[in-house]
């Protein structure tokens, strides 16, 4: 499979069909594995890294799940192509910085991606739409078992799977979900939620993982610890916390509809106005405004069938995707113009926000929104 095919296919997990997909954009699980008695990628010399890559790669490529896969050495990918893969969460930012001695193999549906010689010899990840951590882990577990029958992984009876960073030792598993929480952000409850979640050994991060800003009201929540707890226990605990956050987000939206409908209506109207008429837009502004439109779809203010085109804009307005769709090299200013242009064109099909729908769906005829009209 060629890179152009990767580009023309939207990742299946992006299509938003999984359970709780209105709030849980995606679920992902990754496993870190290393070969026994070989230097970890960060410490290995180039020759050893290359040898390790050549040892692992054929086993990954012949997995039945990897038929018709995209397999590329990092040195053969351009900076732009790497960035596109980062924006699609198919490789990590750390992996994008790698060159000789590293590779990425992913399936056609873009639901499974395996990085060779990232921070660990093997970083395998599985992505699903909506809240499906258990299913994502199940697939990875199968792949891990298949690879383990042919490669000898570094494993210790007491410490479990050994990883380059001690924060991953044990299960080597990081399970995470991307949550869209505009309700909690608009009602200024998000910090409470973030703090509560941090206290129980889970991490909350921005859109692109560690150290990134929360944009577009998107938050990643994941397990912080990997030692002393079974894989399915970690996933069950995380799933439970996410379900609680989903309830809190729904509650926050209801309160906004009942008590702050003016604010909500204003936010949606402004987002619609700016996106429809602006001629220059940064990717941060685009994400933040698109998030409000997405909320509007959840609340029936916009028709449900416009969900996919809006969801696609989240990805298509990212800097590398934008650059990739243009034939010439763009500077930041030109990108902002092109971004606004693409958004205007796609939003032509989006009807004006219809507040009567919002009022009807609050489930309560005497809501402030309806009395306003």
């Amino acid at each position: 499979m060629k890179f152009s095919n990767v580009m023309s296919n939207t990742g299946e997990w992006l299509r938003g069909e999984g359970p709780h997909h209105q709030i849980v954009v995606s679920s992902r699980v990754r496993l870190a594995r290393n070969l026994r008695n070989r230097a970890f990628p960060g410490w290995a010399k180039k020759a050893e890294r290359t040898a390790i890559l050549e040892l692992i790669k054929p086993h990954v490529e012949k997995l039945p799940e990897m038929q018709d896969s995209f397999s590329e050495l990092l040195q053969d990918l351009s900076a732009l192509e790497k960035q596109v893969l980062v924006e699609r969460h198919l490789i990590s930012r750390e992996h994008a910085a790698k060159s000789a001695g590293s590779a990425v193999i992913m399936n056609r549906r873009q639901t499974l991606s395996i990085m060779i010689n990232e921070e660990d010899h093997l970083r395998m990840q599985s992505m699903r739409s909506g809240l499906q951590l258990k299913q994502a882990f199940k697939l990875l577990d199968k792949i891990d078992s298949a690879l383990e029958s042919e490669l000898e992984f570094a494993y210790d009876q007491r410490l479990g799977y050994l990883t380059a960073c001690p924060t991953n030792v044990g299960t080597g598993m990081r399970a995470s979900a991307m949550l869209h929480l505009p309700g909690l952000v608009l009602s200024e409850l998000i910090n409470q939620v973030v703090q509560a979640v941090s206290k129980i050994g889970l991490a909350v991060r921005g859109l692109y993982g560690e150290g990134t800003e929360a944009m577009g009201n998107l938050f990643q929540i994941s397990n912080q610890t990997t030692l002393g707890e079974k894989e399915d226990e970690i996933i069950a605990r995380l799933t439970k916390v996410i379900e609680t956050i989903i309830d809190k987000e729904h509650d926050a939206r209801q309160v906004l509809i009942q008590k702050k409908s003016n604010t909500l209506w204003d936010q949606i109207g402004r987002a619609y106005g700016v996106l429809t008429y602006a001629h220059a837009m940064s990717s941060k502004e685009a994400l933040n405004l698109l998030s409000i439109i997405k909320l509007g779809i959840d609340l029936n203010v916009f028709p449900e069938e416009k969900r996919l085109p809006i969801d696609e804009l989240f990805m298509d307005t990212q800097p590398a995707h934008l650059q990739n769709s243009s034939q010439q090299k763009l500077n930041a200013e030109e990108r902002d113009h092109l971004r606004a242009q693409i958004i205007r064109a796609r939003l032509k099909v989006l009807p004006k926000p219809d507040i009567s729908k919002l009022a009807k769906d609050s489930g309560n005829g005497s809501s402030p929104a309806s009395s306003e009209r």
């Binding site: 921070e119 383990e148 570094a154 001690p166 030792v169 044990g170 703090q195 991490a203 030692l227 002393g228």
Partner: protein, 163 residues
């Protein structure tokens, strides 16, 4: 003094925490302290991570000349990179790592998936221990016929274990 997290900027935030009666010190640069939420006293989102860094200080106090026999990694390298050299490093620096892992994780022992290979090796080791115990018992009881059969079984098992 350099920041304990990014290890490139000068530390400007010096944090001391008493955890389980032990003093832990962390030095952070402005950017990292903001990122880790240290400047927000109510937040403290990544206390676990800070604990980890505190424990890394302890590693430094340990023998810093020790080298991993497989990859040549030292404790100073770990302090610098925050990553280990190879899987054998866990055995080489076990003493220092124990404190770190304890501070970082929920438990100190793995309870999750066991690879088939290790699972089988674990079973064989258990079996070997049982056979050796039985053998000693048989010898003590002067039950030489049983002892001879046990010895043969042990030999066979040794062959399997080394294969």
């Amino acid at each position: 003094m350099l920041c304990d997290v990014c290890k490139c900027n000068d530390a400007t935030v010096f944090l001391t925490q008493i955890i389980e009666g032990k003093m832990q010190k962390v030095n952070l640069c402005d950017a990292c302290s903001k990122e880790k939420g240290v400047q927000d006293p109510t937040g403290f989102a990544l206390a676990d991570l800070l604990l980890g860094i505190g424990a890394a200080e302890e590693i430094e106090k340990g023998s810093s000349t020790q080298r991993c026999p497989v990859c040549g990694f030292t404790q100073m390298d770990f302090k610098k990179a925050g990553r280990l050299g190879c899987s054998t490093c866990y055995a080489t620096f076990t003493e220092a790592l124990t404190a770190l892992l304890k501070a970082m994780h929920k438990g100190t022992a793995h309870v999750g998936k066991v690879p088939q290979r290790a699972h089988r090796a674990g079973e064989l080791t258990d079996k070997m221990r049982n056979l050796n115990e039985s053998l000693q018992k048989a010898v003590a009881e002067e039950n030489y016929e049983t002892a001879a059969s046990l010895r043969d079984q042990i030999k066979q098992l040794e062959g399997e274990l080394t294969s």
